[in-house]
Amino acid sequence: MIGIIDYKAGNSHSVLNACNKLNINCRLISKADEFSDITKIILPGVGSAKATMDSLKELDIIDILEECVLKRGIPFMGICVGLQILFEHSEEGDAKCLGWLKGKVVKFDKSKVRVPQIGWNKLDWKKDSVLTDNLDKENAYLYFVNSYHAVPENQEDILAVSFYGQEFTAMISHDNIYASQCHIEKSGPVGLRILNNFAAL
């Protein structure tokens, strides 16, 4: 059973719709006592890192998330802001984040590109992953909406990069932790394939 974290600023229903379309067993969760039968976790995200961190604190689920993901090794997928808050700090709202991964989140350079980045961008894959099974990697365009992007300290954490005035982190994989800066739930058949591969882990 996949638990999709449902919090105020998130777009959990869009992720739920995509999972339903793929016949993936899942449900929305927002309380610590709803995690008992959960075998995978998706943290959706839109909006700011600060608002997302505040929401998770308000729901009082950071401890249970860390127990599931860091101690028990449950597969985890963060989407968009759900990727950004995995790092130590975000420039957006000067937010202290979860710090599961080493690195920071910074803003795109407004003097070089239009911010936010909105649209479909191509991914350049840095390593192999089960997430890309049966995927035409040469033609993998995914939908991005972001003003900020993660700068991981460990290059090995980067699964894919993309380019927007500069190279930036598009996808992450680190042991059981996966994350996507792009909205895989809104990236047509390519995004659904990645979501399905995560569900099949």
Partner: protein, 263 residues
């Protein structure tokens, strides 16, 4: 590299998609969910719905319609019409839309832009502008004036000033819809699209007038537009011929415009 987007835009009345010719004589076409599903299967990059009478009839957007589309369509979509505050926006976003478009309401109450951006992030707020060529004057230095309420009411506001103000209030994208070109199939208004692109740092969506493949090439090479709205080209019965998304993308790609490849 970020690709140029093709956006299908539907005017909706009572759950039916219509196509307006210069905002009059709407023709009923088809149920909105089935049209959305069709363009999704054609691999459109994005969809916009305007509930075009919600505002005039002072009622809320049909949330059931938004939910139905969200369950079928896995590309981003924007919903507009009749949105007057953050509570309305929240309902639409929760129903599964990515973005909210504000138009006449934002002219009446510009704070709706900042309120929405603060609550949900700039990326959710699309400022849609209806622009009309009126000639340069002291009051309208760009020569383009903003109209509201289905292009029936003129505001005395300059299009470029309004675009810049929208950006500073927190809009994440701007749709520039040419009232003169809308429904004519004669091409986008390149001048105003270009002027607005040069005056804001957020993505700009060109709208109104696309009828042929060349019109898209023109807007993507002669202006900084990030996206083009193609409505009639896809499905209007009034146009000489309709195109598939694939045809449009292969044409653009063949002429060096970077688009998301058809797969």
């Amino acid at each position: 590299m970020l690709t140029k987007r093709l956006i299908a835009c539907f005017d909706v009345i009572n759950g039916m998609v219509t196509k307006a010719n210069q905002f009059q004589n709407n023709i009923d076409i088809e149920d909105v969910t089935s049209v959305a599903r069709k363009v999704y299967d054609m691999q459109i990059d994005e969809i916009i719905f305007y509930d075009i009478l919600a505002s005039a009839e002072k009622r809320k957007i049909d949330i059931k319609m938004v939910e139905k589309v969200a369950a079928e369509v896995f590309v981003p979509f924007t919903v507009g019409g009749g949105i007057k505050d953050a509570a309305d926006m929240f309902e639409v976003l929760k129903a599964g839309a990515e973005k909210i478009s504000v138009d006449s309401m934002a002219v009446r109450n510009p704070m709706i832009i900042s309120e929405g951006a603060r609550e949900f992030g700039s990326q959710c707020i699309v400022l849609s502008m209806q622009v009309k060529k009126v000639g340069k004057s002291d009051k309208i230095p760009s020569g383009y004036e903003i109209a509201i309420d289905g292009a029936r009411v003129f505001t005395g506001m300059d299009a470029i000033e309004w675009a810049k103000r929208g950006e500073s209030l927190g809009a994440g994208e701007i749709v520039v819809n040419s009232i003169d070109n809308d429904g004519t199939h004669q091409g986008y208004d390149i001048d105003i699209t270009d002027m607005i692109c040069q005056n804001v740092g957020i993505p700009v969506i060109a709208s109104g007038g696309a009828g042929k493949l060349e019109h898209l090439y023109e807007v993507f090479t002669e202006t900084g537009a990030s996206a083009g709205i193609i409505s009639s080209m896809l499905y209007s019965p009034k146009i000489a011929r309709n195109y598939t998304v694939r045809e449009i993308k292969e044409y653009l790609s063949g002429r060096g415009v970077h688009v998301r490849q058809y797969i």
